[in-house]
């Protein structure tokens, strides 16, 4: 059974003449334990799909099933948040500037009703490769990569089954990007997670994902396996352009 099943998803912002359709008729499904990528240029609506799933973009129509349960509107219950968590793009914006790492993680654990918070915080920090010495630091005392590790620890605190990754490395240095991607790969194996990952970087998707969907102007133009991506076998013209651009001189080979 598929973990995420999306059919005919439309997402829009604003009303009346100001209405902008960010996603139109998107359909795809992600199997349990799979890592699925959403690729596209900025503004193509890939992050909006994640926000619609989490209820942060409340205006949508279509069908979204998470583990067989249909979602509705912008309200999500606790069970949903236990199951689905998200890592945001910019680690500089996703941590409260006045909360220490300890506060962030303890509050999350408390909200999920998990006992023995003290030991859990220490374990989470170990899991994401930050030692206990980072525990009482504030975000301004951390580097970008360290912040993203904290954000990942926060997402993992409730022991979710699905992790939505909204360009988790695009705000980081190249060297740090690889570390975070490897961490995410390890965590997926360790915790049996299902990933839905958004990126504009085909190299990242090729490294992380089993299958991917290519988006353009709010529509999914092609769903393909990562082997087809590596072999440069794209059916849609836009995907071929994207592939050609990513192996152009100066770009990293996929």
């Amino acid at each position: 059974m598929s973990m995420i099943e999306i059919e005919g998803l439309n997402v829009w912002f604003g009303h009346g003449p100001d209405r902008v359709d960010a996603v139109r008729g998107a359909s795809f499904s992600v199997a349990r334990g799979e890592s699925f990528g959403l690729v596209g240029e900025s503004g193509s609506g890939k992050s909006t799909i994640l926000r619609a799933i989490t209820g942060l973009a409340p205006d949508w129509s279509g069908r979204v099933d998470i583990d067989g349960q249909a979602l509705a509107g912008g309200k999500r219950d606790r069970a949903f948040f236990r199951k689905v968590q998200m890592v945001f793009q910019d680690p500089y914006a996703s941590l409260h500037p006045r909360h220490s790492v300890d506060q962030v993680l303890s509050e999350t654990l408390h909200l999920h009703g998990i006992p023995d918070i003290d030991a859990r915080v220490r374990r989470l920090l170990d899991d994401v490769g930050l030692g206990g010495r980072f525990r009482f630091r504030y975000p301004h005392q951390l580097s970008g990569g360290q912040r993203q590790r904290v954000a990942i620890a926060r997402a993992l605190a409730g022991e979710p089954e699905i992790l939505l990754l909204d360009e988790p490395t695009s705000a980081l240095d190249v060297s740090v990007q690889a570390e975070i991607l490897n961490l995410l790969t390890d965590l997926r194996e360790e915790h049996k997670l299902t990933y839905l990952m958004v990126s504009h970087d085909l190299a990242v998707i090729g490294h992380m994902c089993d299958r991917l969907a290519v988006m353009k102007d709010g529509e999914i133009v092609e769903v393909m396996g990562v082997e087809a991506l590596r072999a440069m076998r794209a059916e849609h013209a836009y995907t071929r352009d994207l592939l050609a651009a990513s192996v152009a001189p100066g770009a990293q080979p996929v």
Partner: protein
Amino acid sequence: MSETLTLRQWLLTDEPTSRRHARLASLYKGWLTLRGNTMAMFGLGILVALVLMALFAPFLAPHDPYVQNLGNRLQPLGSPGHPFGTDSLGRDILSRLIYGSRITLYIVALVALIAPVAGLLVGTVAGYVGGWVDVILMRITDIFLAFPRLVLALAFVAALGAGIENAVLAISLTAWPPYARMARAETLTIRASDYISAVRLQGASPVRIITRHIWPLCISSLIVRVTLDMAGIILAAAGLGFLGLGAQPPSPEWGAMISEGRRFILDHWWVATMPGLAIFTVSLAFNLLGDGLRDVLDPKEGSQ
């Protein structure tokens, strides 16, 4: 020496070892920034002196502020036993100023407790909830803002009756709308940020988000604004006292003292000038401190 050095290192560490340690280190760094600002420290010094003066008024005051001596009235500055002279009823002005600091602090503290808290509550709820709650709360705020402050305070005092408590209430009622506006504006920027989205995705309730996540970010700029407004609050209290609607005689409230001295301002200028200078000094101190606090507390500075 080595003891203090290690304490300093302990406080300045980048790797705090406990919650308490992290908080203390953060406070200490803020204190260092504030200490580097000479003018703010000057203002803080004046305010600490004011608090001490209010605390130890009975020991500091050379005379009883209420005892009248008509044979000794309107003594000039520097007359024996009365360094600041005496007023129209022969009361020692210095003693009255010292006791008056209690009233000033009382007013300032009460207003500072009521107005920003009310404003913070209204502003953050309006900003976070949005929709018609926002519309209703902000239109009420607009109504209060539409009146000149002192005029509205006058109307309240006239309706409630003269007296210090009512003056405090009236000033608070007129002082909260700017705080509500400011808190709402901050909330609007904060609520769209990723860290609020992230905590929403943990299933946090709106009450929790407002009190635990939005308030801590609004409070610092609010504190700065309150310290800067303190001068205005003191002046409003003094203004009400001057108009006879605040503290009632024989209470040594500074505004009321100016009001009493007004009749002799040409021949016996010090009677009105001394309390005026006191108000000026305290207002200035609050302004200087507020300016320094802004450097320390503003979260947008990023350094802290």
